[in-house]
């Protein structure tokens, strides 16, 4: 399948800490077509960011890829050296981070930081790179770009800084943009502006976006596909409609249930998912969500459920669905 920009199969990644091996990613598989927007959702520590960082070789020591195939834009990512990664970063794949307040180097001007990116990956001389930087600032909707280029990060607002981060990320028109919770640290009104900007630029430049977030509202409005992650596994994957209107995994259902509703009564409580995430140092033998799952069965605690395909685009890993499938075929459940 050559139209796939990104194809990850059975990625496994662990952090080797003094306390033991933390299995951050367990058999993560998904793929993306050119131009697609994929949302990765899940709670803190579920492996969303690690999945994205591993594509860029940014999972620093003591993180280590221990298995799986990662194909991106013709690269065999799992075999790449640091030098090859360096060339790929920024040029083919770029990232914007959660907190624009701390993601820009405080001691260099905005101009310096954009020019650095341009000059790293192109043969432009200083003057051309500077012109390109100005063009990029205009592209991300920053007024008075001349003046901004000479300013330091602390002289700009949060939203403006995130725009600068986007400008840096897009300097070399990458094929894939990873947005790691790009709006979490911003005001709601600025959030909307940044998201709008990202969608507009995606249309203009035709890049793919991986949107990492725990804001389901953001994925609903932006993404075509959604991967729900829990404890280093993708527990459900599907189109936005499939995930929102037909969630199959208990965790996905819990996530959607926990969103505050507009028609909620004033004193009504929000619905949390009870319990806390599993300890990845000692992952349970069965489904990692089992201890928190309301419909937990015996087998859930013993064995990891296999993948159940619900449609061409929709799959999940849950024994309940295996059971349903089994019964549907006329068999009898355990």
């Amino acid at each position: 399948m050559s139209d796939l920009l990104l194809d990850i199969k059975n990625e496994r990644l662990s952090f080797f800490t003094p306390a033991g091996e933390v299995k951050a990613l367990n058999n993560v598989s998904f793929s993306m077509k050119q131009g697609e927007v994929l949302g990765i959702v899940g709670e803190s520590g579920s492996g969303k960011s690690v999945t994205a960082y591993s594509l860029m070789g940014l999972t620093a020591y003591p993180g280590k890829l221990i298995g799986g195939e990662l194909r991106f834009n013709g690269h065999e990512v799992e075999k790449m050296t640091e030098k090859e990664f360096r060339k790929m970063r920024g040029e083919e794949i770029s990232i914007i981070f959660q907190d624009p307040m701390t993601s820009l180097n405080p001691v260099y001007t905005i101009g310096n930081q954009i020019v650095e990116m341009v000059r790293l990956h192109t043969n432009k001389d200083k003057k051309e790179a500077y012109a390109r930087a100005k063009e990029l600032l205009e592209l991300v909707g920053i007024n008075e770009p001349e003046r901004r280029l000479k300013q330091y990060p602390h002289e700009l607002s949060g939203g403006m800084r995130q725009r600068v981060m986007i400008a840096i990320a897009l300097a070399c028109e990458p094929k894939l943009l990873i947005a790691d919770e790009p709006t979490t640290a911003l005001d709601v009104t600025i959030q909307a502006q940044i998201l709008e900007l990202m969608m507009e630029l995606r249309k203009k430049l035709g890049m793919s976006i991986i949107m990492i977030t725990h804001d389901l509202g953001v994925v609903a409005s932006m993404c075509e596909k959604i991967a729900v992650m829990y404890a280093g596994k993708i527990v459900e994957y599907g189109t936005t409609d499939e995930i929102f209107y037909n969630p199959k995994h208990e965790y996905t259902k819990g996530l959607i249930n926990s969103i505050p509703k507009l028609n909620q009564k004033e004193k009504e409580r929000l619905v949390p998912i009870e319990g806390s995430p599993v300890d990845l140092l000692n992952p349970p033998a069965g489904c990692p969500f089992a201890p928190r799952c309301k419909s937990c069965m015996k087998i859930c605690l013993r064995q990891m459920p296999p993948r159940t395909d619900l449609s061409d685009t929709h799959y999940t890993q849950c024994w309940l669905l295996q059971k349903a499938e089994f019964e549907g075929k006329g068999g009898k459940a355990e």
Binding site: R89, G90, P106
Partner: protein, 305 residues
């Protein structure tokens, strides 16, 4: 900027005044006097001497006279080294100490900063452990021990280096090493911990994500952010080393200013005590102004007020 400079100079003068006042009265409170010696001199001679240097007047009058003279740039004659003015002694001895101390500071920076960087870059590996070991030694071992070991090994046993004076470039090696050992170790540790802190910052991840090489992330993006604590430390250290170290100058028989500080006090040489103290204080204040301006150049977020 001009306003800032004026303000700093005014503050500096005020600090100098306070230092001078405190030193003057503390000094007077210490028992003994400049003309006391094992061989008692006659009461008449003592009175004549005190009258000559104005020490017979009330303390407050002496204080006023000293300040007035000092404002005119006259720090008085040395009470012990007859016939020499305090400013004279400082002018001849300071260059000796400064050349030694200046070399030591350069060595400390040139060796300490790269060592700290290396340790941070190879965190947890053998290079890091080696450097931490060295740094701990440097901080723990006092300079008289370093000096003695150096003299014993290179001067006495191997007879490679001269042990006295500062006549040839080779004679700088041992005293500079002894002087620079502690600051080198300190800078290396400071640099390492500061760099480790900076390397965990988000903008370092941004730099890596841009495709900047490891070496360049360290030197362009991390070093400039991490160097501030080192600059803070180097300021006062520079002042201290420039005016010379009593211990090292004594051991290597170097005619520097460092020895004058201590002997001025043991001799109760009031004029020397005041002169050297004010000189050191002025140097510290001036260097601190330079350090503050450096801050502003290194980190644009810092505002000089």
């Amino acid at each position: 900027m001009v306003k800032y400079a004026i303000k700093r100079i005014a503050m500096g003068l005020l600090s100098l005044f306070i230092v001078a006042t405190l030193t003057f009265f503390l000094m007077q409170a210490v028992p003994g006097g400049p003309f006391m010696s094992e061989k008692a001199i006659s009461a008449q001679a003592m009175a004549a001497l005190e009258a000559k240097y104005g020490l017979d007047q009330p303390v407050l009058v002496q204080y006023k006279n000293y300040l007035v003279n000092a404002l005119h740039g006259d720090f008085g004659p040395s009470l012990k080294q007859r016939g020499r003015d305090v400013s004279d002694i400082i002018a001849t001895k300071f260059p000796v100490s400064a050349s030694l101390g200046g070399t030591a500071v350069v060595v400390a920076l040139v060796v300490g900063i790269p060592m700290g960087c290396l340790a941070a870059y190879h965190r947890g590996k053998w290079a890091d452990n080696l450097i931490i070991f060295f740094a701990t030694c440097g901080i723990a071992v006092p300079s008289f021990v370093t000096s003695s070991v150096l003299i014993y090994t290179f001067g006495s046993k191997l007879q490679l280096l001269p042990t006295i004076g500062l006549d040839s470039p080779a004679s700088y090696i041992m005293p500079v090493t002894a002087l620079a050992f502690y600051p080198t170790a300190y800078i290396a540790r400071l640099m390492r911990s500061s760099l480790l802190d900076v390397m965990g910052q988000d903008y370092m991840r941004t730099a890596r994500a841009k495709g900047v090489s490891g070496f360049k992330t360290l030197f362009k993006h991390a070093l400039r952010n991490a160097i501030l604590p080192v600059v803070t430390y180097v300021g006062p250290m520079l002042a201290g080393l420039l005016v010379g170290s009593f211990v090292v100058e004594k051991i290597f028989t170097i005619p520097g200013l460092g020895r004058e500080f201590v002997s001025a006090i043991t001799n109760r040489d009031y004029m020397m005590i005041m002169g050297t103290t004010i000189f050191l204080a002025a140097l510290v204040i001036a260097i601190n102004v330079v350090v503050d301006i450096l801050y502003k150049i290194i980190d644009p977020r810092i505002k000089l007020k």
